[in-house]
Symmetry: C3
Subunit: 675 residues, 3 copies
């Protein structure tokens, strides 16, 4: 490498600006205005001028934060010495333009390794990572622009790597497991040790990384980005991560991660991704650490180039979900390796693309309304779509191949939860999307609160009491599909004394695979829902039947304490996802109506392909509306407030008439301020 | 495991009823009325009350036999002791309700092993199996309900396992092989040693198991169930198994095994499966050891839940094929492991499903006509569709991938045989479906007998003389497709002096891949058959051409001795399977007409989607008719007897008018008694 | 093996005819009339009579050359002795009928090895190959019929075999590599060592084989046949092979190798295959070493049986491409092993098929016009479609899977080049199809010469100057797709100072994945081209924009020196391949018009599915026209000569009216002589 090249830094008049106490850390992120930023991809070959240009472009387009992959390979020389000069240029330029830098730990790995390793390979490897962290952190913490550390890129590996270190950790872990708390009633059960260990192992490694960083930069901001959330989520224990991190993040790349969605649903995919992370973060702040910024050449599963409209949609969706900002991958294209020339927000002439300009416009609105957005928090609708880690595990373990059914293949569990999320979205309702372990079952009163368990096939025993308490205390529980077929051990609890019989007010008689789509005729409410794959039949104890097929009960409603359980043992959510949500929306309207008076804004009528999210900031509301329907629309809202709207952002000339009718072009994003 | 749990047996007042000479073995199975039964799936966690309930339900629904998977894992304790108490409960309850029990040997294997291993892994493993058998058999033979042993679950592994024991057996086997009896004429040939050894190895292991069982329970009833017959059949040497077993069986699960058929053809699939096993059994009795009893959740390739109509169809098809009964998999759902909650005939409340009730109705008819059915034997039509083990081997070995053609891909050989079976079925004719080695070529006279060789690509040299003798002695041979292209070594005998030239009365000039479907215009009879994939052209010696294309002979008819060979060197069977059997039925009508006067009943006209099978019992006939056409039908029979019909069974109100017109609903099964 | 069998040679009165100086080698192949021939597949089991018959059939059908696979396995006895007698019969029969024999080296390999190994496995293996060559060559060089040696069957393995010998060679090769000549500008780069070594390794092995043969038969004719050219071509360094071989060849089997084409494009596939080999051969003569002669049973990816019309088309296409003949695979079917009974030009009765008769008719025309065809050379149109080895490598290395796009998947690079080849073909223009390294960049003047670089994603640095010189000196360069996105290291040169900026007159701003098909509206010429996958936008320096989309430049025209560069940064070729070439032909008409006055014959209008190729022989022209359009056609030519046509060959009664209108049946081949 030609070191002389970096001496151009001197020519540019840059001197190392040390972090005088790093005042940028003073303000808690939770109180900050959301930031717009991008990854600056640093690699040898780049010049100081280029790097300076990129930071200048960031500043010119309203960006205030960047993330850098801190390649050990490009710092740690073969002779053992360290040369940080290339990355110094970036930290210095960031300081010059007032950009915060998150250094993403990236210990040495093969040039062809696109995302980095997820676990150490050996004790020696672990030691070399510690040594890397020591050198890296001690050096870069000196910069004023240093805003902390991303501990690892995209943890989440799918399966346990078959490597010495991992296998030893696994062995030790197994030796430490006490007898299972679960009462197996004498039945033999599957082991989910690998899955359980993988969850803890991810947390362990994050914590180890934190401890290493904090040896040299105690109290610094720590962040991490999960990825491929709809597939990998069962591997992440977000509540445990809250003890490790300062803020949570994610990678949400349309072309790599949104395979469960078609392109016109990528915005709702982004919304779902945000809600999962928001729930995971709990009281921690969060932001979207990687959002696709540019074109795919050979990389990406569903190759694409985002439009400027999509950039606005995604960024506003993050903000309207309470995110503290979004960082695009990437500002500048890397020139070498996989993804060379791809993903960038600037063109090959270092000029802003229409996408960067679009992001800049969002940043401008945020800046102009800094206080408003700093204080804005998502409005709580009281609706909770829950997914269950063990349901994902069981669904995966029991696969035997064969003719495809969406509900039976891998993905059926998550897509069923997403289906309710999407159907509620068509009503203009924003709901929580939580792993069941993230739901707080300890409250005394759940009046007005709804939980939806859609085809969550495995319902672990540790949640049974909590669910009972939830309903008993006024909550509403909607049960869909094969929910509670298994417990956490893939044991069929329908067979061996159904532990939820009292709560649900009945039992399943049988499930029968009935077809891809079939009808479920309900009496109360009176409507015909589509079902998918299996039709369950019930025998009720305390529940009231609300639907019959061939003289058999196929749905029921059970009052339990102050609450109620609606049980439709068929995949109605997924059926709606396949052929349209109109009947499901009608059902949800009926079930949720009493509680919706508290929701400030929603659609007057079901709106296919529209997204609505609302933030509250002190006494104001901020509402995001996105039109993915493919045509221009006029949308009537139910406005439960007395407030009047102001347009903060509309990228295609959208307007508001009166206090409740929005006129919006196809692909347009509108942000309204209500006062 | 909680042993105390089983002490509830005492509470129920059950005491061990020893098998006082086991009089249930006294009656030869061949003379018995067909039995209806089910697998009772026993696993720790179950209570004595549950087990008792299941046997009671069996009795209440007319079931008289059960099969139990005798898990060593649940008997043989880690300390080396044996605890049979869980399974004792089952044998005792069976005795209480008069149910016969087949104990299915199931030596220790992993909990995730759904079907059990097929061969020992090592000498030590073999010894441990022997030890298991000793303990198992010595204990359970004491029970009055003990009706013998199923030696292994579903032998048939597809390929040789790469394990020490197998490899040593294979090496020894190869060392013992003498020089091939085959005259290779100097040509190099493929080795089919692995395939040949696998056949013998399966038989060897069955025989070893028999010998171990007979050390402790000599003369007991021994049974085994093959599986996935249309794929695995080339691995089974049924004639050799006759020396090992008391009765033959099979697993015939729609969702696992009938992939060559669409759902509306599952009944004909069951019929074909039965005929293969009937032929394999020879003089031995046979029954269907596993029939799908319930729903699939995650298991099964073509997931489904049988309807009650299908249960009737399948069970009657077994009986009308001469089977001594059918055992459903399963009565009760297992609660743990793969298939938990699936496959069962009772619901989660231990109540009979509509399927169990349907099976019980069949059982009732059998019981009410016990003598009739005990003596009933399939009527012999004289028609034999033969498949050839080596044709399956060669087809598999020569695959090179590429664009699919049904006739060229794996399955072409078996589907071609099935095509003729199906076409004959649409005529109301029941034919034999035999491996060629099961056909008796030693008779002096074959007048009225037909053999169909449909795309049996490899015709081993050991059958050449037999086929000549068959035709010479009055038999009719119908040859379709690439039959006799190869010998048993995949050597192309068309090229090197066609050994069947005299019999067929000619030679193949060429085969040409012509398309998915093309026309074959015949002169005698005058009709246009569809062909598939290859069109062969002939040069005749003694044969008479009966079809031309571009001045080339494409079909011929050869008189040979007292018989005749019809040769159509194109895949007419498979073409019919693809686009309908009407032309093929016309051809078969023409060819078989003289011999059909002996068949008591058949359809007056071709009936798509209808099944007809006939048993003879002393001077009566019993006829099964199933309607899979999707609509209600009135079907005219040709009744070559003077007899009049009585309805024994009709599950949707079907009727008979006069002596020959049946009115039958869609999916209905009708059983008629003719006197 | 039965040696006595071969003594029938004596009965036939054959004695070994020694090669008295082998006068058949005297005439240089380049001056010979093209030959028609076939592989004689020799295997033990065959009789002397059969072998004699096959050679007689060859002679009777005008064939003059054969190739024989010289199986070591059938010569080298287990006791170490050599028995050549079987193959002697073939060389003798060949001599008797005046057929030249190419002995194809085929050292011992497994019976199941269809194509032979491509590299030695070990040093010992290499020595055994040398020993085989010594024995083989010393023996068979004695025959008068010996016409030389095919060094290996179908070199080209796709990837480096993971075997000791190869790995050691690779290690040694890497140790010898000097520092890369390439200036990586400091950027890290991918290694393409394996790909680069594989190219050299293939050449090394060919050369080693040559040296071994020349130890015993110096100066003998050496030939080799590559295969699957559209996939494997990146592995072949034809210019280097010119130093090793006497003539170049190829295997061009429709059913194995033409998967990028549908059947009605197999003739253009053959034409493209020929042009690649012609370019590779340079001044060396070449012929097509393997052409599919007969039917597929189980072999072949796209199984088929060629029609006699296809045989004529393929053979004439070879000849009209300047080939010195074609050898069909095979004359006789092998009887054992993979491909038994397949591929042959004679039937199972050793009679000529319609395909052999068709080939014989072509041979007859060649014989009757021997001088004409001996001197005939393809007419040079000055148009060069270039493909680039490194583009194929980079495309393959960067694959990440996912949703398919033809232009993004493996094959996009080659299909893009083929698209222009096909579009030019619809204009009746024959172009060169060359690896860029085969193009001569050293000339002083390129007026009237065109190069097309269609989606050649990687443009190695060593060609940059040459391309500049080409255009500067009057050449025209047409650039399509992502050409020059990467250099030879998959480094994105669009990003780091585009080295072709001056030549192209601009830079790429961005590529955006836009869809499967989209429109590109050009101003000059005025037309709407379809594009595929990505749309590039340009920033021009010296170039003139010739197309806009959303105010962005999407095509340009740059005058550079005496020449011009047309740059359309979208996949227009592949888009045409997907939905028709009409707009692309319009563009090419416009660009090439000034230069086409030199082309003697072309179509007056675009002709879909028609092929036209022209040879020049002294002062005459020979023109091939093939009709693959599916219907009979009358085709008007532009005849830039004053000459009048004579029909040399027309296999379906085609005629010529006036000097320029050809009436031709579907599937017909017409060959015209113009004087």
């Amino acid at each position: 490498m030609d070191k002389c090249k970096y001496s151009t830094a001197v020519i540019l008049g840059i001197s190392i600006i040390l972090s005088a106490g790093r005042e940028i850390l003073a303000q808690p992120m939770q109180e900050m205005t959301p930031m717009v930023g991008a990854e600056i991809f640093i690699e040898p070959g780049q010049t100081a001028e280029e790097i300076d240009t990129w930071y200048r472009l960031m500043k010119e387009n309203g960006m205030t934060i960047c993330r850098i992959r801190m390649f050990e390979t490009y710092m740690h020389k073969p002779d053992g010495t360290w040369d940080y000069s290339l990355f110094d240029l970036a930290y210095q330029a960031a300081g010059k333009y007032g950009i915060k830098v998150w250094g993403n730990l990236f210990p040495a790995t093969d040039f062809r390794d696109v995302g980095g390793f997820k676990f150490p390979r050996s004790k020696e490897h672990l030691e070399s990572i510690a040594e890397y962290i020591k050198n890296l952190v001690n050096h870069f913490k000196q910069f004023k622009s240093c805003y902390g550390w991303v501990l690892i890129n995209e943890p989440g590996s799918g399966t346990l790597p078959d490597e010495v270190f991992t296998m030893e950790m696994f062995r030790d872990w197994k030796n430490k497991q006490l007898s299972l708390p679960f009462n197996n009633q004498g039945y033999n059960i599957f082991s989910f040790d690998e899955e359980r260990f993988l969850v803890e192992y991810n947390t362990w490694f994050l914590n180890w990384l934190r401890n290493e960083v904090y040896k040299y930069d105690p109290g610094s901001h720590l962040h991490v980005n999960n990825h491929a959330i709809f597939q990998n989520v069962a591997e992440y224990n977000f509540p445990a991560w809250r003890q490790v991190l300062t803020s949570l993040g994610g990678s949400a790349h349309a072309s790599w991660h949104f395979g469960y969605f078609s392109r016109n649903r990528y915005t709702v995919a982004m919304s779902a991704n945000c809600e999962i992370i928001r729930s995971g973060a709990g009281e921690l702040p969060w932001l979207m650490t990687e959002i696709q910024g540019g074109n795919n050449t050979y990389s990406g599963f569903h190759a694409m180039c985002p439009t400027r409209a999509e950039i606005s949609q995604w960024l506003w969706t993050v903000i309207a979900s309470g995110g503290k900002g979004g960082i695009f991958w990437t500002l500048n294209p890397r020139a070498s390796g996989f993804e060379a020339g791809e993903w960038a927000m600037i063109n090959f002439q270092d000029e802003p693309s229409d996408r960067l300009i679009a992001a800049g416009k969002v940043a401008g609105v945020l800046k102009d309304n800094a206080g408003l957005f700093a204080a804005a928090r998502p409005v709580e609708s009281g609706i909770n779509v829950l997914y269950i880690r063990e349901s994902l595990w069981v669904e995966k373990k029991l696969q035997t191949g064969g003719e495809p059914y969406e509900g039976r293949d891998i993905g059926g569990v998550m897509k069923s939860a997403l289906a309710y999320f999407e159907a509620l979205g068509e009503m203009g309702l924003q709901c929580n999307l939580k792993e069941i372990g993230e739901f707080d079952f300890s409250k005394p009163d759940y009046a007005g609160i709804t939980i939806i368990l859609a085809h969550q096939v495995a319902l672990p025993s540790r949640y049974w009491k909590g669910l009972e308490n939830f309903v008993k205390s006024g909550g509403k529980l909607i049960v869909d599909g094969l929910t509670a077929y298994y417990d956490e051990n893939a044991h069929c609890i329908l067979k061996t004394g159904f532990p939820l019989e009292e709560l649900f007010g009945g039992n399943v008689r049988e499930f029968k695979l009935t077809g891809n789509i079939f009808n479920i005729n309900l009496d109360n409410p009176k409507l015909a829902l589509p079902g998918h794959c299996w039709q369950g039949t019930l025998i009720t104890t305390t529940a009231m039947p609300i639907g019959y097929s061939n003289q058999e009960i196929i749905a029921s409603r059970n009052t339990f304490g102050k609450g109620e359980v609606i049980w439709i043992p068929a995949l109605s959510g997924l059926a709606g996802r396949i052929q349209g949500y109109s009947p499901l929306v009608a059902l949800l309207e009926n079930e949720l109506r009493p509680d919706l008076t508290l929701v400030p804004f929603r659609f007057r009528e079901r709106q296919e392909g529209m997204l609505l999210k609302t933030l509250k900031s002190d006494e104001s509301y901020v509402t995001l509306v996105v039109n993915k329907s493919g045509v221009a629309r006029s949308i009537a809202l139910i406005n439960n407030t007395k407030m009047k709207p102001l347009i903060l952002f509309a990228d295609k000339g959208g307007t508001v008439t009166g206090n409740d009718v929005i006129t919006i072009s196809s692909e347009e994003t509108i942000v309204l301020l209500w006062k």
